[in-house]
C-alpha cells in the first residue's frame, strides 16, 4: 500500500487544529464523544518509547524500539459547562471508581491527510485509559488529564470532523 501524502501545499505547515484526539465511551446505551483539548494551548502525543541499544566491538550502535506507550496530557483541562467527559471523570473521581477510567476508546485523527470528500485518516485505539491528575487551580477549576493510548489500533478514516463522524476501518 502506498503511503498517503499530506493534504498540504509544498512547505505549508500543518496547523495544530488538524491533529484531533477524540474520546468515546458508552453511557448506558448511548455512545458519547468529546474532542479533547478545549482551552489547551499545547499538547502532544508522547510515545514513551522503550529502547535498548547494543554496541558492537567496532563501536557501532544498534538500537531497538521494544514498545511504545503513547500518552497525551491535557493541561489545563478546565471544568466547563456542557462537557460530558468532564462530568463523567468527575463522577468517577468522587466515587473513586478507578476501573471505569479504562473504558475509553480514543481516536487520533490526522486531518492533514485526507479531505472532506474522501474522509480524514484516523486511528482507533480501544480500551484506553483517561486519568485525572489533579483538581483545583487559580481562577478556574482545572482537572488536568492524561490519556493513555492502548496501541490496540484499528486504522481507518472518519467521514467528517464532527461529533457524529463515522469511522470506517481500512480494508
Amino acid at each position: 500500500m502506498s503511503v498517503a501524502q499530506f493534504n498540504l501545499a509544498e512547505h505549508q505547515r500543518a496547523e495544530r487544529k488538524l491533529l484531533l484526539t477524540v474520546a468515546e465511551w458508552t453511557e448506558g446505551t448511548t455512545t458519547e464523544r468529546e474532542l479533547l483539548g478545549r482551552r489547551t494551548e499545547d499538547s502532544s502525543v508522547e510515545y514513551n518509547a522503550d529502547q535498548s541499544t547494543t554496541t558492537d566491538i567496532l563501536g557501532i550502535n544498534y538500537t531497538d524500539v521494544n514498545k511504545t506507550q503513547p500518552q497525551q496530557d491535557f493541561d489545563p483541562y478546565l471544568i466547563l459547562g456542557g462537557s460530558k467527559l468532564g462530568a463523567k471523570l468527575d463522577d468517577i473521581r468522587r466515587r473513586n471508581a478507578l476501573s471505569e477510567l479504562s473504558q475509553f476508546t480514543l481516536y487520533l485523527i490526522t486531518a492533514y491527510v485526507g479531505d472532506s470528500v474522501n474522509g480524514y485518516r484516523a486511528e482507533k485505539h480501544v480500551n484506553c485509559t483517561i486519568q485525572y491528575n489533579s483538581l483545583g487551580g487559580d481562577a478556574n477549576v482545572n482537572m488536568p488529564i492524561s490519556a493513555f493510548f492502548s496501541n490496540d489500533i484499528t486504522n481507518g478514516h472518519v467521514d467528517k470532523l464532527s461529533i457524529d463522524f463515522v469511522f470506517t476501518p481500512d480494508v
Binding site: K17, G37, R39
Partner: protein
C-alpha cells in the same frame, strides 16, 4: 455567515446602562462637552489572542469609555471661622464628587451584567467569557482648562474576553 460588528455590539450593550443612555455617546472622536461620552477602542496586547489546539482562539477586546464633566472650584469644607469651627461648604454635596457617580454607576452595572452573564452579542461564532472593567473606580484623567468651561475627563476601562470559534474545524 454575516460578520458581527463588535464595536456596534459594544455600543448597543453599554447603551443598556441608564447612565450611558441619558447622555450623547460618541465613537472614536468626540466633542469635549459637559456630559458627552466617548467610546475608544484600544489596541490588542501581545497575549490578547491565545490559540488553543482545537483551533479556537481566546481574544480580548479592550475599550475605554471616556466621560466629560464640567468642574467646579468649590471647596468641600469652608475654612474655619473665628471660633475655630470648620463647616461643610454651602454648595455641598460637591459637583466634582457627583461627577464620579456616572462612571461608578457604569462600573457597577457592568459588574452586575457579568455576574448575570448578560453579555454583548458577538454572533454565533464567539462565546463571551466575561465583561469586566479594568478598575473598581472611574479613573480621573485630568481637567482640560483650555476650554471656555473647564472639563474633567473620567474613564472606565472595558475588557471583554471571548472565545472565537470561527476557525475551529470540529463542529
Amino acid at each position: 455567515m454575516a460578520t458581527v460588528d463588535l464595536n456596534k455590539s459594544i455600543l448597543d450593550y453599554i447603551y443598556e446602562c441608564p447612565v450611558v443612555a441619558k447622555d450623547p455617546m460618541y465613537f472614536g472622536v468626540a466633542e469635549e462637552k459637559d456630559n458627552n461620552n466617548q467610546l475608544l477602542v484600544n489596541r490588542e496586547q501581545p497575549r490578547d489572542a491565545i490559540e488553543f489546539i482545537d483551533g479556537t482562539v481566546e481574544r480580548v477586546y479592550r475599550a475605554e469609555i471616556l466621560m466629560y464633566k464640567s468642574v467646579a472650584y468649590n471647596p468641600i469644607v469652608i475654612e474655619e471661622d473665628s471660633a475655630g469651627k470648620v463647616s461643610p461648604s454651602p454648595l455641598y454635596p460637591n459637583e466634582n464628587i457627583e461627577d464620579m457617580v456616572d462612571g461608578q454607576t457604569l462600573i457597577d452595572w457592568i459588574k452586575e451584567q457579568n455576574e448575570n452573564r448578560h453579555f454583548p452579542n458577538f454572533g454565533n461564532e464567539c462565546i463571551i467569557e466575561s465583561v469586566e472593567t479594568t478598575s473598581n473606580r472611574p479613573t480621573f484623567n485630568g481637567v482640560n482648562v483650555s476650554l471656555e468651561s473647564p472639563l474633567a475627563q473620567f474613564s472606565v476601562g472595558l475588557v471583554i474576553t471571548y472565545l472565537d470559534t470561527s476557525k475551529q474545524l470540529w463542529k
